[in-house]
Amino acid sequence: MSEAERADLLLQIYYYMRLTRAMEDRTRTLFLQGRIVGGVYTAQGHEATTVGAAMTLRDGDCIVPQHRDLGMHLVRGVSPRAVMCQWLARGNAPTLGRDGQLHIGDMHHGVVPMISMLGESLPVACGVALVMKMRRRSTVVLASCGDGATSTGAFHEALNFASVQRLPVVFLIENNGYAYSTPTAKQFAIEQLAQRALAYGMPGESVDGNDVLAVMEAVGRAVAHARSGQGPALVECRTFRVRGHSEADKADYVPPALRQEWLTRDPIKRFEEYLTAQGLLSAERRREIEARVRAVVDDAVAFAEASPPPDPATVADYVFAPDGPIAIVGEPGATDPRYVNALDTRTGRPFCTMSQVEEAVTQL
């Protein structure tokens, strides 16, 4: 990679971190204004982990993200418009208003929709990886969970199954200190969650989850391991949830000094300082990026607000998929409209989770 390419890459990372933060800040505002209903989960402080981890992937790889992984979604090409349509429960949202939040996916672009039962996505990630292995692909699955989900049976079943089957999965644990109000001391009794890897016979490492370059290095090593056919790997990113579990949670159970300490380690601020010290982020460049971020967020919100609500007459629709041939995702011709999984057959239109394909980031 040339100097110029590296500079571009670093600024792209910075852009995605800023976009993630800005999208969530706007989401919070919309919630406080009463324009978003229900639970709102954001991830201030996670941006280095989610953006950094996703930056290690290539075309054909798959993410299995959770509720605080907006950064991962955006890097992999999920449309900010789609995200805002989800939050605002629009009829043209990827879930057609059936579900909210980041519960979205599009298999043709490698995004598996999550459910609220955290940890349950990990066995599903194994199934995606199983198909990659069967089809002799050199692609990988990046599946995340929080510290809380590491206590579920699904987590342990998935790690064990992935290891026994030598599946190309990278398990990313975002240890942010709290599962709702439960601190890690009440969640597990080991020093580092990376130690869980040892029990299942896979490599594991623990990394500063607020240092985007460190995250990229560690996850990059895990991805390389999985891609080489040696089986799964685990990375624990140590970060902190500096806000509540949801926006309805004041999180007054978190000692103020602890929160303050982590606020000073804000991943965006740290990366900005690094870029500035490297001479890569001039004041002008920063203003440009901020303007671009604002424009994307404004566009997403405007688009979502102009979008229609779902039609109540459709409330009982879409329970079962229609008959017809199904393509194996990722094979040539898999998006031919004759396949039931090529288009969104609920609407007869393409899946609307992703931005334009060319906007999606691939390995630079």
């Binding site: 298999m107 879409y318 999984n341």
Partner: protein
């Protein structure tokens, strides 16, 4: 051509679909080297290899969850529960992950979950389950239960080719029952999901049933014909979801009396929904109360005298049918 058992019919269905379609594969506990706890997949490993006949760890959540992931990728996995009782260990993957997937994402999920269900084999409280009501109640999954070898094969083929999660309940008491042996067509066939079949025609009463109870009802109908001169119609539902409301209603409109028989417990069972459907839609046609024969509202017992008392049998079906006929 030789007559095959219900179990051999299941085995044939999977084998033929795996030969026909490379996206079909089987995963579960002991399905490979051992050929399955009941030998449904005996010889499969040799024919299809370890990537399509996957011996898994003892992890129902991983089995069903992996099947969901593979189905998202467009494969057609068949996830075996060694006994259907253990489906509870993977419940979340079914009711939250699989059942809501197409509805909320538009991504079809062609997935079969199958396993031995039902009692009568001294299996006790953890090897005799009839779990259909949980899934019958859950939108987003189809539920089928064959009663004959022909249906066992045809329904399973239809389930594998369906683009949705299908729970395929095979009654283990029927697996090797000699009287269920039958010659199956040599050509490819399916039994469509959502189509009931009238096993015996009659004009005095309709028995609505499925699974192993079909055979108990047929025996009861024969006895009632001989001893009471009653012409009982026996409808084998075959599919619970989708439910063949037309065949059910058409039969009851002709007979005007309904007895619902199932092996599952009474309260909140499939029979309760059938009764509600008929009460709502065919009230004017009914010449008697809608009656039910089912297992008592207690867990499935082990000791033979308790098991005998628990399972609906010909004697109880005949007794209740006589009450209804006299009404």
């Amino acid at each position: 051509m030789t007559a095959v058992t219900y179990l051999e019919a299941i085995s044939q269905a999977i084998r033929e679909e795996m030969r026909r379609d490379e996206s079909v594969f089987l995963l579960g506990e002991d399905v490979g080297t051992y050929g399955g706890a009941f030998k449904v997949s005996a010889g499969f490993l040799e024919e299809f290899g370890p990537e399509r006949v996957i011996d898994t760890p003892m992890s129902e959540t991983a089995i069903i969850g992996s099947a969901v992931g593979a189905a998202l990728m467009g494969m057609r996995p068949i996830a075996e529960m060694q006994y259907i009782d253990f489906i509870t260990c993977g419940f979340d993957q079914i009711v939250n992950m699989a059942c809501k997937m197409y509805w909320r994402s538009g991504i079809p999920l062609p997935l079969v979950i199958r396993g031995p269900a039902g009692g009568g084999t001294h299996g006790g409280p953890f090897h005799s389950a009839s779990p259909e009501a949980w899934f019958f109640h859950t939108p987003g999954i189809k539920v089928v239960m064959p009663a004959t070898a022909y249906d066992a094969k045809g329904l399973l083929k239809a389930a594998i080719r369906d683009n949705n999660p299908v729970l395929y309940l095979e009654h283990k008491l029927l697996y090797r029952l000699p009287e269920l042996r039958e010659e199956l067509p040599s050509e490819d066939y399916i039994v469509p999901l959502g189509k009931a079949i009238i096993r015996r025609h009659g004009r005095h009463m309709t028995m609505l049933t499925y699974g192993a109870m079909v055979h108990q009802c047929l025996k009861a109908a024969e006895q009632l014909a001989t001893e009471d001169g009653l012409a009982v119609e026996v409808v084998d539902l075959r599919s619970l979801t989708p439910l063949d409301r037309e065949t059910i209603k058409e039969s009851v409109k002709r007979t005007n009396k309904v007895l619902i028989v199932h092996e599952d417990t009474l309260t909140g069972g499939v029979g309760a929904e059938l009764a509600a459907l008929l009460a709502e839609e065919l009230f004017d046609y009914l010449d008697g109360p809608i009656m039910r024969v089912a297992a008592p509202d207690a867990p499935y017992p082990y000791a033979p005298p308790l098991e005998m008392a628990y399972l609906p049998g010909v004697e109880r079906i005949v007794a209740v049918a006589r009450q209804l006929a006299a009404y």
